[in-house]
């Protein structure tokens, strides 16, 4: 009997340990990808990198122009729908932007951290890391421009540690951005095969770095970097300005780096609708639903725009417009008047009527900006040199070239003559204005005004009651509530 008992006890103990000490209690989800089976292969790395691109895109879906143009002096938010107005800016806003930017950063940190242990082609691995680092650096650039000092997080969030980091001095953040991007230049290809277009190239990083140097007022570095891009002779200006915005000619020689959208996929472009200024005709020839306007040109800006070819290409005030014969009022009649303000036509997609979603890409940086960076930086470093004039005048020439043949017609030249004989200060102002005209509605204006130290003046002139505090967006209130280590920007 004693033996029986011992056997039984032994049996019990064995079975129990079988359950408790084995992996019986370790359950991994069957139907979700999880840490046990993800980040093991090259394809996992690729999918993880895609997440960084996808996250990066989210800022460009609407924040880019809401922050860059609507909250500046050349665009309004349309008919009271969406958008941000300096007067309304308060700490209850921006949580979405903040969260989505940091989500992208976490995606990048996750990839960069996990790719290390993946066995894959080393060159590809290096390239993937470089792509992720550039996107992460650009995300930090957006953050630091918008909010000033921000928490600098470079490791994936796996516990609550990252959540409670304080803000890092913005100089340190800028150093990080420039360091990461500089380091990545050599690890990125000059171009990609057609199936990979939209990824970060060497030229894209160089161009973006030139922009960042310009913003940092590091003019020699900006000049040199812009010159490097120009001298590479990979990029050029689209001859006919209208072709630049043709959805069927995307990713041309001027498009250094664009966010890719494609009709008929799950990533369609909505810019055509958002920029339609509530005019249903622009979107669908009047057939479809009215679009909510997200952005429209301010009347003052429209009126101040020199009346040359570029204005016709990018701004539409009322229809019918002889320059836009395909846009006709509903039933051929109707008021033809846009409802909110002049529309920016840079993202016009004539196919929208048939396919319900659009193709228009977002240009993160294009060659015209690089040329203008060079012009501005060259002027700051060496004064208005011939190179500086050539640069800015190449933009003006294309802007007035109404038949797009690359040859100056006298009439065109009359409307927008070449610049010459300017002082250094005059040249500076001329480049700024040229940027306004060339890059308007592409999300630059607010940041340009800020770096040019004329934000308050320009906005005040525009009738907006801005204060010093508006130079930075407020840290979202709920973020400060959740992380007591965060401080608020002054004035909010």
């Amino acid at each position: 009997m004693k033996n029986c008992y011992k056997t039984f006890i032994g049996f019990t103990v064995i079975i129990f340990f079988n359950y408790s000490c084995s992996d019986f209690l370790e359950e991994a989800p069957f139907s979700s990808i999880n840490s046990a089976n993800f980040y093991n292969t090259k394809d996992d790395a690729s999918a993880g990198l895609n997440a960084v691109y996808s996250g990066f895109r989210s800022y460009y879906n609407s924040s880019i122009y809401q922050h860059g143009d609507v909250s500046a002096d050349l665009a309004s938010s349309g008919e009271g729908t969406g958008g941000i107005n300096e007067l309304d800016i308060n700490p209850t806003q921006f949580q979405g932007t903040w969260g989505s930017l940091y989500t992208t950063i976490n995606f990048a940190n996750t990839l960069i951290n996990n790719i290390a242990s993946i066995e894959m082609d080393d060159d590809l691995k290096t390239r993937y890391i470089a792509e992720a680092k550039v996107l992460r650096a650009m995300t930090y650039f957006i953050l630091v421009q918008s909010f000033g000092d921000v928490p600098l997080i470079t490791t994936p969030t796996t516990d609550e540690e990252n959540n409670f980091l304080p803000r890092t001095d913005k100089e340190q953040v800028y150093n990080f951005i420039i360091g990461e991007m500089t380091e990545s230049i050599g690890n990125l290809p000059i171009e990609y095969p057609p199936s990979d277009i939209g990824r970060v190239t060497k030229g894209a990083v160089q161009s973006l770095l030139a922009r960042i140097y310009l913003f940092r007022k590091d003019f020699p570095a900006a000049r040199d970097m812009a010159l490097t891009v120009m001298d590479s002779e990979i990029y050029g200006l689209e001859t006919n300005l209208k072709d630049l915005y043709d959805v069927d000619r995307e990713n041309g020689e001027e498009h250094i780096f664009s966010i890719q959208y494609s009709a008929g996929t799950r990533v369609p472009s909505t810019f055509t609708q958002n920029y339609a200024s509530r005019n249903p005709v622009i979107i669908t020839g009047g057939i479809g639903q009215q679009a909510g306007a997200s952005i429209a040109a301010e009347r003052d800006f429209y009126e101040s725009f020199p009346d040359h070819y570029r204005k016709k290409v990018i701004l539409l005030d009322s229809i019918p417009d002889p320059f836009w014969p395909q846009i006709i009022p509903e039933n051929g009649t109707g008021t033809g008047k846009l409802q909110v303000g002049p529309s920016c036509m840079k993202f016009y997609d004539p196919n929208l009527e048939a396919i319900s979603d659009g193709d228009a890409n977002w240009p993160v940086i294009r060659y015209a900006e690089v040329v203008l960076i060079f012009a501005e930086a060259e002027n700051e470093v060496n004064g208005p040199t011939v190179e500086a004039y050539n640069a800015i005048n190449s933009i003006r020439k294309r802007a007035r070239d109404s038949n797009g043949d690359g040859i100056d017609d006298p009439n065109d030249l009359l409307e927008l003559p070449d610049l010459q004989d300017l002082s250094k200060d005059e040249f500076r102002v001329a480049v700024w204005r040229e940027r306004e005209l060339e890059l308007c509605f592409e999300g630059h204006q607010r940041w340009d005004l800020l770096r040019q130290d004329r934000f308050i003046q320009a906005m005040t002139d525009n009738g907006k009651n801005v204060e010093e505090k508006h130079k930075l967006f407020p840290i979202p209130m709920l973020e400060i509530a959740a992380n007591p280590n965060l401080t608020q920007n002054p004035g909010y």
Binding site: M1, C4, Y5, F8, T12, I15, F16, Y19, S20, F24, L25, E27, P29, F30, S31, S32, I33, N34, S35, A36, F38, S46, A47, G48, N50, A51, Y53, S54, R57, S58, W98, G99, Y102, T103, N106, F107, N109, T157, T158, D159, E160, N162, N163, F164, L165, Y192, P194, S195, D196, I197, G198, Q260, S262, T265, R266, V267, L478, E479, A482, L486
Partner: protein, 1040 residues
Amino acid sequence: MLHVFALLFLCSSLANRVHGKVGGNPLFEPDYLSNSQIVVTGQVFSKTDGSPLPGVNIVEKGTTNGVVTDFDGNFSINVNDGNAVLVVSYIGHATLEVPINGRTSVTVSLEESATGLDEVIVLGYGSSKKSDLTGSVGQVSGAELTKSSGAVLQQALQGKVAGAQITQTSGSPGADLRVRIRGSNSVYYGNDPLYVIDGVPVSDGSLSYINPNDVESISVLKDASATAIYGARGANGVVMVTTKKGRAGITEVSIDYYSGVQNVAKKLDVLNAQEWATTARLFWTRFRDGGLLSRAYSEEEIANMGEGTNWQDEIYRTAPIQNYDISVRGGSDKTKFFVSGNYFDQQGIAINSRFQKGTLRVNLDHTINDKFSIGLHLTPSYIVNRPIDSDIIYQGIIQNPVLPVRNEDGSYSSQAEIWRTTGIYMSPEHQNPVQMAYERENVVERSRLLSDLSITYNILEGLTYKSTFGLYLDNRTGSSFTPSYFESEITRGSNGSASRNQTNKFNWLHESIINYTKDVDKHHFDATAGFTAQSDRDDYFSTTTWEFANNSTGYYNLGAGNDPQNPSSYRNRSSLASVLGRINYTFDQKYLLTVSGRYDGSSRFGGNNQFGFFPSAALAWRVNKESFLEDVEVISNMKLRLSAGQTGNQSIPLYQNVQTYGIGSPVIFGNTEYTSIVPGSLVNNDLRWEKTDQFDLGLDLGFFGWGSNFDFTVDYYYKKTTDLLLNVQIPRQGGYSSLLKNIGSVENQGLEFSTGLGLDFGELNWNLNGNISFNKNKVLQLSGSDKYFGSSINQRRVGVIGKNGGAASVVMEGQPLGVFWGNIFDGLWQTQEEYDNGHMANDSNSGPGFENWRDIDGNGVFEEGIDETVIGDPNPDYTFSLSSDLMYKDFDFSFSFYGTQGNDILNAYKIEGLSQVNNQNVITLLKEAWDGPGTGNLIPKIDRPAGRSGTYPNRAATNYIEDGSFIRLQNVTLGYTFKNLNFLKNARLYISGENLFVVTGYSGYDPEVNSRGNDNTVLGVDDGVYPKSRTIRIGAQLKF
């Protein structure tokens, strides 16, 4: 009735055969005989009426040697020697120990158990005599359960156990009930008790697969002392269902049959065709100064209208219900069995709804030898449920009375068509409910198998080891089909839709339990220890196809649709491994101590907290056993109980402890879409169960004398649940917005009284039982915000609540769970002047004749979203029940009442009904609408203020809150038993009525209601809930 006779005939022949087999040799030879053994014969009688008792268990004390009395109460047993003691036990009677004292013949009279103190109460991993119980446990006998005709077992439990609040939230046949033991502990995760069937904890609380006739008893474990042995699953109480076991002795065949009819217990008063058209015309006359009057019927048309269609008459019907049940129970001293079969068929009172189920059961016990025995429970079941869309119920109220069910050409009438063709406005998205019920198919089929096999090993005297293997399989297939010709604004675009979804569950369990019992002098020890491992797996698959060119194949051939939708599937698995133990110690039958605990390891929790320990302790003092009370015969029981302990709730979503990745938004390179994979949610490695600490103080009293007995039990409890799992907003800088954390806290405290009075006047027996339970629930702590809105109640009917995300309830610190939240209604603005000088003067949504919402913060202006407050509490102050069982000679008469007091209901019919007369029918209350100063102060003017658009903003407000207190006559039964008929042992015929009346002030269908079923955050909302039926049944119970 024909059925009854057919069954009688069938079973009489069957029973004859059974008798023929057993009758000749009612006794069973013992396994072994030794020279020293002596044979003792005897007879057992009932002390009450002197009749012989069949089926009484006679066991030689301290052995497994036992026999059972035959039909005439006779027995014969071989005992070891003349000093043997016979233990004579019989259900419902006090167990008696009879010393042989050398006799070879004994006569035993068993007394009916006056106080039920010898009743055996089933507990987790064991049982206890009621007298030895230290915890708070309510037990209900199987006989009580069969009084109800509900398809789901829990329905029969309603009102039977103090502290168990059971709410039939829907009258739909087979619908699950909301069960709360001593209140709700959790905010978002699992408030359902743990169900344990014959010792096997099941993850599926939808107990339609248990045949009430198979149930021996149900015990409800309430306090921590009783539930801690279920550790991480015990916090919400435990419901132990024990099915009938075989009995050695003569084989008993029972046949139960009933058949009945059901009707809707109440219909709501709605406008008839002429009234509606008149009212709608009035609306359009006033609205925008009559600019849209063309949307109304002309006065001439209205004059020619009659009453039109009362859609409630069209969707409700008199529906049959029937139940067939046969069971056979018997066995030898080695093998005992209980087998049964059941078929239940309930057609719903709403057209085209039906619930059918069939269950089989085999309960088998076999003694292999004096060391080993085995037991088997096998319960296959099959259910076919054809529920109807809750929209049909709602539509029965609001469908336009002007329309006939069918047009003259036989097609279904359609509001959309009227609107399109005549311009008379009626909501085009509202579908003809009769058409919906008949043309849209929706079927749920479910086959389940619950089974377990156990082996018991008697190691030593008093020491047993039991190993159990349990298996639960559940295959649930839901199918639905909407034909392409079904024109609907809702389904427009799909052009016919078929879908099927399938859930397969596979759960297994292994338990090893040791039990040791020892008596030393006045000390009694009973120790239980063991370990268990359990794994639950769910597989799900669902697919839908649109575009059917031909409708004949329905959901049987999804390939016939031309537009397949994305399928979805998943597999989930969780596991639990535990060690458990309990020690009961009794000294001198006076002082009782129970200590129990469970150590649970769960796959659901994070690396840092995978294991948890749940202890409890209880003390009881049987005061009546003290010398000073021992001689007071009138006090049969007086026991004080005290218990405290901790239990857990592990019902959280799975895999919270694993870093998952999900498919993110794709990315485009070139013109091609590429998949992105993104991190899922942030993992909290510190995640652990919700913990409930409970304290219980109870008193049991029993009095006996003058042929009657009186029991009284009172319990006070206090429960505090901490570590509630809430989604906490976290800084987003880490890339995540929320994290599941153990942070919140809720308390429940209450008092439970239950009492029973038994009167025995010989031929007249009367038992009266009642209980009343008070529970007060309070949310102590939330995170981030002091208030969260509950789930939206809009479901498909958007716009019932147009604010706060469709929520009418909040979870709020300092308040009970799910209190209603909204505006305070201060009547109607009577005059322009009053309005202009009031706090809503510039509110374009109001005006004279419209609502005056109180300016709660007193700042002089009514502000939407700010002037809101708690406006009602759906939790009752108390629930109560009273039941009476009267037996006179061969007649029996019983009834039971159940009710709640002090709970509020949000009547959504009113919200929509009073704002939408222009496009749908409404309840007749609208006739009292304001029509000029002083003409009314409750129902707003039939019009819409100039600035108001559509239904803006339908809301929860005090004028839609009603008192939901009620008393329901649950059941009345009158029966007559024919005894000793020829081949029949007895035959009982009865007639029974359920839900014959409800006393309530509530104006909707039924005050026992919740449109969101079992949701933790929403209760007491009445919005298109299938009403309860009134049922009359006749039945026969035959025993052979």
